[in-house]
């Protein structure tokens, strides 16, 4: 049986889907979080139930690509659960009536009823069901699941019960905090302050992020590594464990405390509704570069993961605007670039917080400026803005665990395999003898590419290889660098800044490229990637040249 959860954006469809199926799909307090349909099969007493979570929609006439995706899934539904936000019930019922009129079996599930009661409103399930001619439920998801899978949906006859007997919206006035965030100057200023505060807590040497990173390094890379290698005899195995595993993978895992701060900030933005207010208030800025405030959401998502940010562009109504946003998203430093910046900047600056903050802001500014240069039409804006709420600690904790778990899995799989493979290539010759890294297969191959990186001050083959590893996953850059250079940091300030600049502008990783190909096509994706690569090299050369010939004399 196909059960589709349909409703207006931000009604709570994905939250319900997660509760019904035990999934952990992304949620947020703004419109347009879900951009693709998700399916999960649940079995009960031998029967299979396929639950579908679809993007939000307002009517059966789509305004954006994601709405079309929702309409397509509804056509194949055996049962539609219309998830309705009790706080905006009156406008939500337009879709409800359209779904009921489609002739499909429908159950209406109301969300945010407690919040409705707090503002003095009420809703009568039975009266509303009679008004609509469909069963209405206000109950925990577990109970709804039993009803849906039990096959016992009642037939409800529509009568002349007026809506005002079944529902009262309560006090609809806008709160003071909402009015503050709807002020165009306050919202943007608040966002900039929050971002700077995030970087401060993550990167300042005296703050928790940096402190716990140091603690992780001591526990994992020194004590645990020492305990394991102390019991080993074989030189090659010791090298693999020390350099390949702990030096590479272990070192990247130590960035988790600082990534935790980054994801905490992004999650609070997601859950509070500040993102929604920001999207509206910054729309004027994005209009100048042929985008809409919707791009604010995509760009901020890019701080976490470029691939995930690319998926958010499905909510755009104009394909040209989607292409433009996808093209500039790789300039936004994602969470995977954070270990790279920290690896190269921390040894040079006692307090790397200002330097890293500058790189992040430069990335955002370049992304916005690049958007203005890309040809094509622009995107309009006609979207709901959500109220600002205090995020629920449980929801924030679940999302944080999900992000951190995803990072650990990626490092333990992709990065670990890459590090072990790199270690092998870096410690064995073409005749498979265990040799010093300078005599290895990797050295011979990487030296062919070193001339490209020499003008950035990165004349060492190990640095050239580390830079190129970022195309698989950006975490590989820090991991392979730390693995291949166990003797410690050897770069000068100019070269380190050039390396960070190269990483800032270079094309996204394989995951983001494949997401981009799926959304905007291979030709456009690879054309953008080629331009980004040229820009990455050019800016790396420029930064190194400027530092060594101009700023080096001053600094």
């Amino acid at each position: 049986m196909n059960i589709v959860l349909a409703g207006n954006p931000n009604a709570g469809k994905t939250t319900l889907f997660n509760a019904l199926t035990g999934s952990n799909l992304r949620t947020g307090n703004f419109h347009g979080v879900t951009t693709t349909a998700a399916k999960k099969r649940v079995k009960r007493d031998g029967d299979a139930f396929d639950y579908f979570d679809v993007p939000g929609m307002y009517a059966f006439k789509p305004y954006s690509m994601e709405e079309q995706a929702a309409i397509d899934e509804i056509k194949s539904a055996d049962l539609i659960v219309n998830v309705v936000d009790a706080l905006t019930l009156e406008s939500s019922l337009n879709l409800t009536r359209a779904i009921i009129a489609s002739g499909k079996k429908v159950a209406v599930y109301l969300t945010k009823v407690e919040t409705l009661k707090k503002r003095g409103g009420f809703v009568d399930e039975k009266a509303l069901a009679a008004h609509l001619g469909a069963p209405v439920y206000i109950c925990p998801p577990k109970k709804l699941k039993k009803i849906l899978e039990g096959g016992s949906l009642p037939d409800v006859k529509r009568d002349k019960t007026p809506l005002n007997k079944a529902y009262y919206g309560g006090n609809l006035s806008v709160s003071r905090i909402d009015k503050l965030f709807y002020n165009r100057f306050f919202a943007l200023a608040a966002f900039v302050v929050l971002v700077v505060a995030m970087f401060f807590f993550a990167f300042h040497p005296l703050m928790p992020g940096a402190y716990f990173k140091g603690l992780c390094e001591e526990l994992i890379c020194v004590k645990l590594c020492g305990a394991i290698t102390g019991n080993l005899q074989n030189e090659a195995v010791i090298s693999l464990v020390e350099e390949g595993i702990f030096g590479g993978v272990g070192s990247v895992l130590c960035f988790i405390p600082q990534l935790f701060v980054l994801y905490l900030f992004l999650t609070v933005l997601d859950e509070s509704g500040i993102m929604s207010a920001l999207a509206f208030t910054t729309d004027g800025l994005f209009e100048k570069v042929k985008l809409s405030g919707r791009a604010a959401f995509s760009l901020v998502s890019g701080f976490g993961c470029t691939a995930a940010a690319i998926l958010t562009t499905r909510g755009y109504s104009a394909p040209a605007a989607q292409r433009r946003t996808v093209a500039v998203l790789p300039f936004i430093p994602c969470g995977a670039k954070l270990p790279v910046f920290l690896t190269f900047l921390s040894p040079l600056f006692k307090n790397p917080f200002p330097a890293i903050t500058v790189f992040y802001f430069v990335g955002v500014l370049v992304a916005i400026a690049a958007s203005a240069l890309i040809r094509g039409g622009s995107e309009g804006m006609l979207s709901e803005v959500t109220p600002i709420i205090l995020p629920q600690a449980k929801a924030v904790a679940i999302k944080l665990c999900f992000h951190i778990k995803g990072f650990i899995i990626k490092v333990a799989s992709v990065v670990a395999v890459f590090c072990v493979a790199s270690w092998f290539l870096a410690h064995f010759s073409f005749s498979f003898k265990f040799v010093q890294p300078d005599e290895s297969m990797l050295a011979a191959i990487s030296r062919l590419l070193t001339p490209l990186f020499k003008p950035m001050g990165l004349g060492d083959w190990r640095l050239a290889y580390a830079a190129l590893c970022g195309f698989i996953a950006k975490e590989n850059v820090a991991a392979t660098y730390l693995m291949l250079m166990p003797e410690g940091f050897v770069l000068g300030r100019g070269a380190a800044l050039a390396m960070c600049t190269f990483m800032l502008f270079c094309p996204a990783c394989v995951s983001a490229l494949s997401a981009s190909v799926k959304e905007v096509g291979a030709k456009f994706t690879f054309k953008c990637a080629a331009i980004q690569l040229l820009l990455a090299f050019a800016s790396g050369y420029l930064v190194y040249f400027c530092y060594e010939n101009i700023f080096g004399f001053i600094g």
Binding site: S91, T281, G284, L382, V385
Partner: protein, 60 residues
């Protein structure tokens, strides 16, 4: 709301949200450079660009 001179998919969305002639609206704010306006009606908060907003007539 006294008149809505909007066509196409934008009109469908406004209709779907329940914004029609006679709806009481409240202006909550403007975006940067006054490119758009945020209005509230029936518990819904809707941000719209100047182009659409100018096609909607209101009487005070």
């Amino acid at each position: 709301m006294s008149r809505i001179k909007v066509d196409g998919s934008a009109r469908f969305r406004l209709d779907a949200l329940g914004l029609s002639v006679g709806t009481h609206i409240e202006v909550l704010g403007h975006s940067l450079f006054h490119s758009g306006v945020l209005i509230s009606f029936c518990g819904v908060r809707l941000g719209m660009r100047k182009k659409i907003a100018e096609a909607v007539e209101v009487s005070l």
